[in-house]
């Protein structure tokens, strides 16, 4: 399948072919840190996506004004601005999620996906293409987080949509003893490794 539209290509590239989680292996720190629950993974993914889109947009606009010698500090300042905004928004409207994500929200500043897209894409390409790249990469990252979080929460907790007892659905009944390993970071590594293997098998089969 050949897509000629460059915007569509930038968008789908981030979701499938260059998925930051399963293909580029970027942003491992929040990926392993916050994916014990689907809600946390989704929240983290959306927060990172918002920062990514905004920073891609601004950096792409300013790409002709930023001197190449000091580009990284400039990128960091722009990214940190948006992270601070997101942090305050989360703190104000989603305090529970903010507590659960903890240090990983301020750490979005140094997330390799965001800095990587700024350096490799937004600082070289026009504004609209950077925008679609940001959206695509953001969706890809969120997808990776949610898939890993789903596996970990089902095996490690036996629920979906926890930890809030009102929304949590217990899948296996009261007698299920959850496999606590998958709720811990060590289990996140094992689950990620197995998922990566599965994704590679699927991609190979469909020649992606």
């Amino acid at each position: 399948m050949k897509v000629n539209n460059p915007y569509l290509q930038d968008l789908t590239q981030g979701i499938v072919k260059e998925n930051p989680t399963f293909r580029l292996l970027l942003g491992m720190c929040p990926l392993l840190g916050v994916t014990a629950y689907i809600v946390n993974g989704l929240g983290m993914g959306l927060a990172a996506t918002a920062v990514l889109i905004a920073s891609n947009l601004v950096i792409s606009m300013l790409r002709n004004f930023i001197p190449p010698q000091v580009r990284i500090p400039c990128f960091i300042v722009i990214i940190a601005t948006f992270v601070t905004i997101i942090e305050m928004v989360l703190q104000a409207f989603q305090p529970v999620l903010y507590e659960a994500l903890g240090v990983f929200v301020p750490l979005i500043v140094v997330n390799c996906i965001i800095l990587g897209r700024a350096e490799a894409f937004a600082s070289k390409k026009p504004v609209l293409r950077s925008l679609s790249d940001g959206i695509g990469m953001g969706i890809g990252f969120t997808l990776g987080l949610v898939i890993l979080a789903t596996v970990r929460e089902i095996i490690g907790q036996g629920t979906i949509f926890g930890p809030d007892p009102e929304s949590a659905i217990h899948l296996f009944g009261a007698n299920y003893e959850p496999m606590a390993l998958f709720a811990q970071p060590a289990g996140a590594f094992i689950a990620l490794g197995l998922l990566l293997g599965m994704v590679n098998v699927i991609f190979k089969r469909f020649n992606i």
């Binding site: 003893e177 496999m179 606590a180 390993l181 998958f182 811990q184 060590a186 094992i190 293997g197």
Partner: protein, 319 residues
């Protein structure tokens, strides 16, 4: 006379061993037989059930993964299954055995490329996974007490503390009890006598080198004398207690000597054994867990490639 038949010209190798993976694994299974027998004598039919579930799971999972019809195949899966059962408490829930045995084969061995490529001892990977997941069933709990020579006894009804839990628990068992195996513990680790018989068989067949078990048990013995707390009048006996209680003998003879995951050089084997002993005793004496054999051997497995790299023997006549 046909002379041409008498002179075979071929390139090396000229001498071939009759040993195969299957023959080595069969020898290990034979070596494990006294240990398994002792486990059944001490803990009754539930020990037998645990072992049967474990071996059946590992062999089945491996055959399915490799898409083979031959379930026994090279025998390594059966060894992994039996060893995994040996490091379980006498009567764990059946699903715990199945999940642990399956992850021993899949995560411990097959994802690395199968036999010969695994970094960690598969049986211990299985144990580490179940310990981290369902610790309540395996550590820190009151253990099933053995009911010697009563095959149908309900062992989960009688419980006692593991001798490694503290000084009082340690003094509650005699060294003779520990030697015979009449004490609380995992299936295969209680009887030092049975483990020694198995070890001697493996040594006689040339499958294990004295350096790993020697280094391991020696280090545990020395550290037990020096830092063990001296709860017997004779400090030598305290050292002996640390060797015979818990899983040191099982680990030193059957786990640490795994050919795939231990160093190949002589010096490296000694370093490996001593390292296992040090980490085990560090965890036992100063750590929060009562027992540390599993993680000691897994950590040393991880640094085996480095040990091998730094202990390359000098070539004869070379540099």
């Amino acid at each position: 006379m046909k002379m041409d038949k008498k002179m075979v010209v071929s390139s090396s190798p000229h001498i071939r061993t009759t040993e195969s993976v299957q023959s080595v694994m069969t020898d290990v299974l034979i070596a494990l037989f006294p240990v398994a027998l002792m486990a059944v004598l001490l803990f009754g039919y539930k020990a037998l059930v645990t072992m049967a579930i474990s071996i059946a799971t590992t062999m089945l999972v491996e055959a399915l993964w490799l898409r083979k019809r031959d379930v026994f195949s090279d025998g390594s899966a059966a060894v992994t299954g039996l060893l995994f059962a040996m490091v379980l408490p006498p009567a764990p829930p059946w699903w715990l055995v199945v999940v642990g045995a399956a992850s021993a084969i899949i995560i411990g061995k097959q994802v690395f490329g199968g036999i010969g490529y695994n970094i960690f001892n598969p049986a211990l990977v299985g144990r580490a996974i179940v310990v981290m997941s369902w610790g309540g069933h395996l550590v820190g709990r009151i253990w099933s007490a053995p009911q010697p020579f009563i095959f149908g006894a309900d062992i989960s009804a009688v419980t006692t503390a593991t001798p490694l839990a503290g000084h009082e628990e340690a003094l509650a068992v005699s060294l003779t009890q520990l030697f015979i195996g009449n004490t609380a513990g995992c299936l295969g680790e209680t009887s030092a006598l049975a483990l020694l018989i198995g070890g001697i068989w493996l040594f006689y067949k040339g499958h294990i080198d004295w350096r790993i078990p020697g280094g391991y048990i020696g280090t545990v013995f020395v550290m037990g004398i020096l830092f063990g707390g001296g709860f017997y009048d004779n400090h030598l006996l305290t050292g002996l207690f640390y060797v015979m209680a818990g899983g040191v003998m099982l680990g030193a003879i059957f786990m640490a000597t795994d050919m795939v995951t231990s160093p190949i050089t002589h010096k490296g084997k000694l370093i490996f054994g001593i390292g296992c002993g040090l980490i085990t005793m560090l965890i036992r004496i100063w750590g929060t867990m009562p027992e540390g054999v599993t993680f000691a051997i897994l950590i040393m497995n991880a640094i085996t490639p480095i040990i091998d790299r730094f202990t390359v023997p000098q070539q004869f006549g070379g540099g």
